[in-house]
């Protein structure tokens, strides 16, 4: 992500320091992570110290300071999903992708996260990829689901 695009995003928010989180969210959703250079640029333009930006960027889970994969896998480990075998789904996905929760593979294809509830307990165990919900999924079916993503 180059400075021109970052400037565009900042201008969209009138260069207001109070829009810092919105600016960061926009960069995050477009770039999937917040590179150091981007934060320096934001700091310069919004006149907010880098320490403050870093404090906010590390506080909220929506932000990432490391590159994330093209597809975000969320596996629900809530109670309902847990009793229906979420652990086995997670194990299988870890096997298939070769990454643990919180990690991203080397090709930047997948990022894996566990969550504590996705709000659709009747569909447990639930796996969500890029916001698309795969409900009542068996460990074997995860392979088919993952194959669809490039």
């Amino acid at each position: 992500m180059d400075n021109a695009r970052i400037d565009q995003i900042i201008d969209k928010h009138q260069g207001e320091a109070s829009s810092l989180i919105q600016v960061l969210l926009d960069i995050q959703s477009e770039n999937r992570w917040l590179p150091k250079e981007a934060l320096s640029r934001v700091s310069e333009r919004l006149q907010v110290p880098l320490t403050r930006i870093r404090q906010i960027a590390t506080f909220y889970k929506a932000f990432s300071l490391v590159p994330k994969g093209r597809h975000a896998i969320h596996i629900c480990m809530g109670t309902a999903c847990h009793v229906r075998g979420a652990q086995r789904v997670l194990d299988k996905v870890q096997d298939l992708t070769g990454i643990k929760p919180g990690e991203t593979d080397l090709d930047l294809k997948f990022s894996l996260e566990t969550v504590n509830c996705l709000g659709c307990c009747a569909l447990g165990p639930v796996m969500e990829i890029d916001g698309k919900t795969h409900g009542k999924i068996s460990p074997a079916e995860t392979a088919d689901a993952l194959k669809k993503y490039e």
């Binding site: 110290p49 880098l50 320490t51 403050r52 870093r54 404090q55 590390t58 506080f59």
Partner: protein
């Protein structure tokens, strides 16, 4: 500026509007322990060790005296069974992070806090924010800040700024109630882990 009368530990105290309980107490020589306070910095209310009982119209509440503004006819108790118990607990929790800090040990002696009450998790930092705030408010360099949150919250230097500013300043080191261990340690770590061009 109107005058406000309040009672602190049974003594009548006259204070200016806008003063905090802590300032009013200090003006008549009543001592309230503090850890995150510094006269050059804005009150922060992080350590809660200055907690006192404040009674107004029969209602008693526990407040951080470094932040709570004085009120007319407020009755403040800086030492009571409840206050002592709270300070003791806070000290025990802080000591599990910084068991060797002399400032904490002195207070622990006074309040009977046991440094082994909780399992040690020596991070040395008690999150008083003195270094962070001093750098931001007094030096205006913002070389050090907090990162992460909750149990994983810690202070961290920005190597690019720290390598330029910190070696000639280091004014935050003596401020640290846990004796600068953390500040020195993390500064070094930040400088070593950054690329070679930043270490000079």
């Amino acid at each position: 500026m109107s005058k406000i009368m309040l009672t602190i530990d049974g003594r009548e105290v006259q204070a200016q509007e806008g003063m905090t309980i802590l300032e009013a107490a200090q003006s008549v020589g009543i001592d309230i322990p503090t850890l995150c306070r510094h006269e050059k910095l804005e009150p922060y209310g992080a350590c809660r060790i200055c907690t006192v009982e404040a009674e107004n119209k029969g209602w008693t509440k526990l407040v951080a005296s470094c932040l709570y503004p004085v009120e007319q006819n407020l009755v403040v108790r800086t030492r009571s069974e409840k206050v002592d118990r709270i300070r003791k607990m806070i000290l025990q929790l802080l000591l599990s992070h910084a068991p060797d800090a002399r400032e904490l040990q002195d207070l622990a002696k006074e309040y009977g806090a046991d440094k082994d009450r909780f399992e040690k998790e020596a991070s040395f930092c008690i999150h008083c924010g003195l270094c962070v705030r001093y750098c931001a408010e007094v030096k205006k360099k913002n070389a050090v800040g907090f990162v992460n949150r909750g149990a994983r919250r810690e202070i961290s230097f920005i190597p690019e700024i720290a390598s330029k500013e910190c070696w000639n300043c280091k004014e935050c080191f003596p401020l640290c109630p846990t004796e600068a261990l953390q500040a020195a340690y993390i500064l070094t770590e930040a400088l070593i882990s950054s690329s070679p061009s930043f270490t000079t």
